[in-house]
């Protein structure tokens, strides 16, 4: 059981960690000072949340496992994030669409995890949800502002949506571990969340004057460790210090 719970925690944590890293790449490169600060603050929240998750995972694993060894010493195949989160910061439209598609999912997921049969997951979710409520406000506001903005901003947002929307289906491809977590009352029923999610997303996108793309869902296997080529580049950057100076500490 502990092995499966451990893997489930990696699935929960890796989404936040990889997106947190992507956002940290924008530090000093945001389109304006305010958005730069906002995106890096969101990155910081995501890393805070992932630290809580990995500290718990390390405790389950025992032996010499620490939050840092989980974060810095796994290969790409041992990462379980959805592929949406590793997509690059192509432009601000891509950053905002990726963020909104994730925030809307994460808010739903955390609301459900607050009721988890696992007390520690419930506590982490309750704490994280307060922060995620602010994240989704930020990304939804920007979707509306840019989508219903000028014809140029609308076009850029629509292009980003066309590219990224098909990745959002992976959140709900319930795998064996997630099914088991649901049956034990630890995780949510992703099939049920799926309908709520897409109805919320459609409402927001229509306010933002953006069209839901008719391209089919991308069948991706990020959660089972099969990633796009982007993840390798992310990890070579993210893990650099631990790989070059093993066991170094701040």
């Amino acid at each position: 059981m502990n092995d499966k719970l451990y893997k489930y925690l990696l699935m929960l944590g890796d989404n936040s960690m990889i997106l947190g890293h992507r956002l940290s790449e924008l530090c000093g490169h945001g389109p304006s000072l305010e958005t730069d600060i906002a995106l890096t603050n969101i990155s910081l929240d995501l890393f805070g949340q992932v630290r809580n998750i990995f500290q718990y995972a390390a405790k389950l694993k025992g032996a010499n496992t620490t939050e840092d060894s989980i974060a810095f010493l796994r290969t790409a195949r041992q990462h379980h994030n959805c592929i949406l989160l590793e997509q690059p910061n192509t432009d601000f439209a891509h950053v905002i669409i990726r963020q909104y598609l994730f925030d809307a999912f994460q808010k739903l997921q955390l609301e459900n995890l607050c009721e988890s049969a696992d007390d520690q997951i419930a506590a982490i979710a309750a704490k994280s949800l307060k922060e995620t409520n602010y994240h989704v406000r930020f990304s939804a506001e920007w979707c509306k502002r840019l989508g219903a903005g000028t014809s140029e901003s609308n076009q850029k947002m629509q292009e980003a949506l066309n590219h990224l929307y098909p990745f959002s289906f992976e959140f709900f491809e319930q795998n064996e571990i997630e099914s088991e977590m649901y049956s034990k009352g630890i995780g949510p029923d992703l099939n049920r969340l799926k309908d709520i999610y897409f109805s919320q997303v459609k409402t927001l996108l229509s306010t933002a004057e953006l069209n839901i793309p008719d391209s089919p869902a991308r069948h991706t296997k990020g959660k089972s460790g099969i990633h796009s080529e982007y993840l390798g580049y992310i990890l070579s950057d993210f893990q650099y210090m631990q790989r070059v100076y093993p066991n170094m500490q701040w």
Binding site: D45, L46, G48, N52, A123, R137
Partner: protein, 166 residues
Amino acid sequence: MVVELNNIDKDILDALASVPDPEIPVINVIDLGVVRQVKKVNKQVFIDLTPTYTGCPAMDMMSVDIKKAIDALGYETFVKLVIKPAWSTDWISEEGRRKMEEYGIAPPLEENLDKRVLLDGESLVSCTHCQSTNTKMISQFGSTACKALFKCHDCLEPFDYFKCLK
């Protein structure tokens, strides 16, 4: 918010009250409401500390500062981070809110008013410089995750607002 105290002497409380929030140095850890439990067993002191935001880099520093302040009284201090129940801005003391405002950070409004300000752009937050409520949010995220950035239309100065977290 009431701190649970077990067998605690005044000197320990005074030591805690001397530890500032590194980001808002006019507020101490008691005023901020992050100290949840203090317990003394013989010469050992056990403290439960709760983070404001999960990623707040000030927490590690607060733990170290608390340990240093109480160790200096001749105790051995153990600080543990607890996340349940999650911290709320309601736990900031009245004294803490007052000091925060004097320092230039508008204290959090009630949750419903906070939403009207941050989502609907209403002018309800008082400027910390001139007390005018003719103010506008510039960014939902300010110099730290817990604050939003505002400007005042009357005195034209910028200021921080501590967001409501419940």
